[in-house]
């Protein structure tokens, strides 16, 4: 086999030998082509004879092998190596840069002269020749793998970061409901109920027999697939949003309808006249524009107007031929109004039958007349008089419609100011329009408010209803106060995560550690016996915080004291009033009776001077609190001592220690009160010594503690709201991990929030 391969190699070499000079010769190639062909043929002959030889050789080898195996020992066939010699190969490039070095130009030189090579590839080859940059050697395997890993990690990290928003939302949420994808409430479709249920009782059997006899489907889906898809497509929240939108639209529509109905019902001719006139004016304005923009449509309109004129001319509608006109004509002799009406009608006829050449002038004149008429009687005079009595408290409450009416009036007056030249009737119209706009604006503002609230909730599971009653407001206040803690804590945690200062886990969480002891608790009595841990032992009482300011304060108060002399006022003798002995049946609320009672007490304790004894007591307390001078002089130390000898004044001065004055007493300005400032140590056992972790200042913590949770102090709703547990799970439901749908839901919610 080895030999055969060698033969093949020889063949290759032969071919190579033939081709190398060909490249060198270049243009002679064509001439030698035929010759070469013949040479190849000759070679083939040689090769075939050689192959035969090889066959013989192989057989011989086999035979030899067979013989050798007979001996028992198998001899391994020695493989022969064949290596291509350097001088023979066309691929090897000599390093010495000798004459054998092959250049790119050598290789592609042929193509330039060969007309068979297309121009395009020639161009490409030329470009290739110009480029001298060598390709970088590939990176090592480790390096490439590292890069690949890094890329993959970046990808995975960015993918995972999609969940950021939903996770932070959950961290901040007041309440979490599990399982996340809860089955929608309401009746389940029949087919799902029936699926895992077989007929058991005879009644059921009968029913199913009947159903099957009548070929009634028992497991037929109630919803078509399309309906199901639509149900699946729309979530509850989306549906709610959509419903709210629809409701709003419907309400708006109903407003418009009601308004139209009201308009229609108005009997005032004047109003309608104005209305039609306004419409006409509007139309004309529109028409003028239309002439410029859309002449064809304008022409049509013109035709229509012409047609109306023609109709008017044809008919006798506004001439004195109708029944009404005739009756008016009879009345006209005696009645001024009837005459006026007739004139108006005739005027109308004239107007309608006029050619439409100068419609604007006409209108203008009429407008002027109108303004003259209405200026005399401003519209707001007609408004209902505010008949409320200021003294009557019941009338102070506002009715629900009033604000809108007032607003209406306001807008009206505004309109009047802005467009004073326009007729009052038109003003009214405009005002009504503004009313509509105001309504819409109100809607918008409401919606924005609602949105703001929603965003405030920031992903809370429940959307809180916006309620305006006081109870709810109170609710929110209280719950705000109470939820402060949790919100703060979460916020703080977040900030902690961000800042990441020097925080050994055990130091930051020191408060969270369990107190693990060898005592087992079985009864409540055991709990009482638990010994206190040393860390919980109270520290030193908080000393006075800011003495300088206090001192200042004291200085001021000293000045004041002289002026007031409250104690003197109190020590004055009370003048006793004789009480009439007749019994009186009066309400206890009567202030006089209270006074009487006080005097009665005074009478009863006339003997002992309560007030003065109280004052004495207070003075004693004050004196006790005053810092005392400590005398540390040692008589006889450094000089003679004995009876009648006193230490010198210098020493007495030196060794007298005056302690700093105490901060002023709290009851300094309260003459009738003694506030003991001694600390009750038994209480400190039950007090919080240091500010707990999530809180930032004492005020926060105190307000949190001060707001009660129970239903003794709060309304039912507040209690419900405040005592909502943070995590709610359903009994017996499997909570599956967060799925991709949650992300979609969250995104949809965000989109909806942005959109609306």
């Amino acid at each position: 086999m080895a030999r055969v391969s060698r033969k093949n190699g020889n063949k290759k070499k032969l071919k190579g030998r033939c081709s190398v000079p060909l490249v060198g010769l270049g243009d002679q190639q064509l001439l030698y082509e035929e010759e070469e062909d013949s040479m190849d043929r000759g070679e083939e002959d040689i090769i075939s004879s050689e192959e035969d030889e090889a066959e013989h050789e192989r057989k011989r080898q086999k035979l030899l092998e067979g013989i050798s195996t007979l001996g028992g020992k198998r001899k391994r066939a020695q493989g022969e190596r064949s290596e291509a010699a350097v001088h023979m190969s066309e691929f090897s490039v000599n390093t010495d840069g000798g004459p054998g070095k092959v250049k790119l130009s050598d290789l592609i030189g042929i193509f330039e002269k060969n007309p068979a090579v297309p121009a395009k590839s020639r161009q490409q080859l030329n470009n290739l020749r110009r480029v001298k940059k060598s390709i970088n050697s590939p990176l090592s395997k480790e390096e490439t793998e590292k890069i690949q890993r890094d890329m993959a990690f970046q990808k995975a990290a960015s993918e995972v970061s999609r969940w950021d928003s939903i996770i932070t939302q959950n961290q901040r949420a007041k309440q979490l409901l599990f399982p996340l994808s809860q089955e929608p409430a309401g009746p389940r479709p029949v087919e799902r109920l029936v699926a895992g249920w077989n007929v058991q009782t005879p009644l059921e059997q009968e029913i199913f027999a009947l159903l099957s006899a009548n070929k009634q489907p028992s497991t037929d889906p109630i919803l078509t697939p399309a309906e199901e898809a639509s149900v699946r497509a729309m979530s509850l929240e989306e549906a709610k949003i959509r419903r709210a939108e629809l409701q709003k639209a419907r309400a708006l529509q109903s407003y418009y309808e009601a308004k139209a109905r009201r308009d229609r019902k108005i009997k005032s001719k004047k109003y309608h006249k104005v209305q039609t006139k306004a419409k006409r004016k509007e139309f004309l304005k529109h028409f003028e524009q239309m002439v410029k923009t859309d002449p064809a449509a304008a022409l049509q309109e013109l035709n229509k107007m012409e047609l109306a004129r023609m109709q008017e001319r044809m008919s006798l509608k506004h001439q004195n031929s109708s029944k009404w006109a005739k009756s008016k004509a009879i009345m006209a002799k005696y009645n001024e109004e009837a005459r006026k009406a007739m004139q108006q009608q005739l005027e109308m006829n004239r107007q309608l039958t006029q050619k439409l050449v100068t419609p604007l002038n006409d209108d203008y004149e009429q407008d002027e007349g109108d303004t003259g008429e209405t200026d005399l009687l401003p519209h707001f005079v007609n408004d209902a008089v505010d008949g409320r009595d200021a003294s009557n408290p019941w009338m102070k409450g506002k009715l629900t419609e009033e604000p809108t009416q007032k607003q209406l009036n306001d807008t009206m007056t505004e309109a009047a100011q802005v467009v004073s030249t326009v007729a009052a009737e038109e003003e009214e119209l405009e005002a009504e329009e503004t009313e509509e706009e105001a309504l819409l604006r109100e809607f918008d503002s409401n919606r924005k408010l609602h949105q703001a609230q929603e965003s405030d909730i920031a992903g809370g599971v429940f959307l809180e209803e916006m309620t305006e009653d006081r109870a709810a407001a109170e609710d929110s206040e209280v719950s705000d106060c109470l939820s402060e803690f949790t919100i703060i804590s979460r916020g703080r945690e977040k900030s902690f995560k961000d800042t990441e200062e020097f925080n050994c886990a055990d130091f930051t969480d020191g408060s969270a550690q369990l107190e693990e002891r060898l005592v087992r608790i079985r009864t409540v009595e055991d709990l009482e016996l638990l010994h206190h841990d040393p860390s919980a032992e109270p520290g030193h009482p908080p000393t006075a915080k800011d003495p300088p300011s206090e001192e200042k304060h004291m200085g001021k108060s000293k000045k004041k004291k002289k002026g007031i002399e409250l104690k003197e006022v109190l020590t004055k003798e009370t003048n006793v009033i004789k009480v009439p002995l007749t019994p009186t049946a009066t309400d206890s609320d009567d202030p006089e009776s209270k006074l009487d009672q006080r005097e009665l007490i005074k009478e009863a304790f006339a003997g002992d001077d309560v007030i003065s004894s109280f004052l004495k007591d207070k003075r004693r307390h004050e004196d006790e609190g005053k810092p005392k001078v400590i005398d540390l002089t040692l008589p006889g130390w450094g000089e003679w001592g004995g009876m009648g000898l006193k230490p010198p004044k210098r020493k007495r001065k030196q060794f007298r220690v005056k302690s700093a004055p105490r901060p002023p007493r709290k009851d300094q300005h309260l003459p009738s009160v003694i506030i003991s400032e001694k600390r009750n140590t038994s209480l400190t056992l039950h007090q919080v010594h240091s500010l707990p972790f999530p809180f930032e200042d004492h005020g926060q913590f105190e307000s949190c503690i001060r707001s009660p949770l129970g239903r003794t102090w709060n309304t039912e709703r507040t209690v419900k709201n405040v005592t909502k547990p943070r995590v709610v799970t359903q009994l017996g439901a499997i909570i599956s991990p967060m799925a991709e749908e949650e992300l979609l839901k969250n995104n949809n919610r965000a989109v909806a929030r942005e959109g609306s």
């Binding site: 890993r149 995975a156 969270a512 049946a585 499997i734 599956s736």
Partner: protein, 445 residues
């Protein structure tokens, strides 16, 4: 003279039936309730005391294995089913409501190293020391039928960990390398290697379902993406990590149980330092499992205790132990967030309540309200020393107690020494290394 007569509408104070609650008219004016804080404080104190008195977490012990319980598996569809594999290759299926074994099968020759229930709940996979992966039907074989695996795959090496994909028929094993298998094929569709190491556990991310994490014996935690041909990243810690568990509600968080008595919660995007270090165990932590709500997790340790940690807290909120429970090998938190199951060396599986003082079963609405209220009260007054003292008290076995004290002293000594060194050396030359950074050796890209 004015005479005022009391007249009240009986509707305001008379109940409709005697089963109604007595109506109590209330005035919520805060000035009328000067002692609300102290009254609530007393209520909170009482509630805390009662909580400690009623804290009886141990529910049942399931015995029947003839060797230590080596692995547990939750059923994905049924809350009342539990699977357990022991060190003698036996797998038992338990009914938790009846506290009885419903099926026993000899799955493997040696240890049952890992077990996982397929997402559909119809079958489960086991791996054992006999280098095989076996798939079994969840239903017991009918009368006369033999207990046979649906499918057996013979591997080249011993498998040590197993987990199944959340949604598709793909599972992962680990041993000398991490392999991803298609259920339909007998050869892995992908295998990951990164240096020479042997892996102890592999877990799929339940949220971002294509990601995996594994713990290697060279003290590293390696992350993978099933779709990529290479691993993602590796973090090397000071000591070996035994298992890890992904948070089912937070896609990028996982917690790992370490040999150095601690648990570490990582954000997979920032492996340089853990988010939190959870301490309290006094021996190696062997297993960890998240609650399905993702708020807490439970850990099993070689120190014969189970501890429950909040995911943001450095210390445990609860410790469970019994006299007879030995080294706890495996632990699971039930899918309804109510129970904890632990398998330990002494052949027993124990059922615990997740909240020790919680009343089981359905609560009446008023009962529920009362529970919620007391819970909030306890939360509100948790910083008061007397209440904290009672709420935090736990009984510990003597040896663990002493061990804990010892550890505390050691730690304190180390801290003091470090402080002294810092004090007596050039400022800045001995930097403060936070606890979080101490345990991470390096992150390998």
């Amino acid at each position: 003279m004015k005479v005022k007569v009391l007249s009240r509408n009986p509707d305001d104070y008379v109940r409709e039936t005697k089963h109604d609650i007595q109506r109590v008219p209330r005035n919520y004016d805060p000035s009328l309730h000067p002692f609300e804080v102290s009254r609530e404080y007393t209520r909170a104190l009482n509630a805390t005391k009662l909580e400690r008195v009623f804290a009886k977490p141990f529910l049942a012990s399931l015995d029947g294995h003839r060797d230590g319980v080596n692995c547990l598996a939750k059923h994905t569809r049924s809350l009342s089913t539990l699977l357990s594999g022991s060190c003698d290759g036996e797998v038992k299926v338990w009914n938790l409501t009846k506290h009885e074994c419903v099926r026993t099968l000899q799955a493997h020759g040696g240890f049952v190293r890992g077990m996982v229930v397929r997402y559909c709940g119809n079958s489960f996979f086991t791996i054992g020391d006999d280098k095989t992966i076996k798939q079994w039907k969840m239903e017991a074989p009918g009368y006369g039928e033999e207990e046979e695996p649906l499918n057996t795959i013979l591997g080249k090496t011993v498998f040590t960990g197993l987990d199944h994909h959340q949604k598709s028929g793909v599972f992962a094993t680990c041993g000398q390398q991490v392999d991803i298998w298609d259920e339909q094929r007998s050869t892995p569709i992908r295998s990951f290697t990164w240096g020479v190491d042997s892996f102890s556990s592999v877990r799929f991310n339940p949220v971002e379902t294509e990601l995996l994490g594994s713990c290697a014996s060279d003290r590293s935690i390696v992350l993978y993406d099933m779709r990529e041909s290479t691993p993602l990243k590796k973090v090397i810690m000071t000591m070996r990590t035994n298992t890890l568990c992904w948070n089912p509600m937070e896609a990028y968080c996982f917690t790992c149980a370490n040999e150095d008595y601690n648990l570490y919660t990582y954000d997979m995007r920032h492996l340089e330092r853990p988010i939190k270090v959870h301490m309290d165990h006094v021996s190696a932590v062997l297993d960890v499992d998240y609650s399905p709500t993702g708020q807490e997790f439970v850990s099993a340790s070689f120190d014969k205790t189970i501890r429950i940690f909040s995911k943001d807290d450095g210390h445990s909120r609860e410790v469970y132990h019994t006299k007879r429970m030995q080294h706890v090998i495996c632990i699971k938190w039930s899918a309804d967030n109510k129970y904890i199951l632990s398998g330990s060396d002494e052949m027993n599986i124990r059922l615990w309540k997740a909240n020790a003082a919680e009343k089981l079963g359905v609560l009446a609405p008023r009962e529920r309200e009362a529970v919620n209220y007391t819970q909030k009260l306890k939360e509100k007054f948790q910083h008061h020393p007397q209440i904290r003292r009672i709420a935090r008290h736990r009984h510990l076995p003597k040896n663990i107690y002493h061990q804990k004290n010892e550890l505390r002293i050691m730690k304190e000594a180390r801290r003091r020494k470090e402080m002294n060194v810092r004090k007596h050396s050039k400022p800045g030359s001995v930097p403060v290394v936070s606890e979080k950074e101490k345990h991470v050796v390096s992150v390998v890209k």
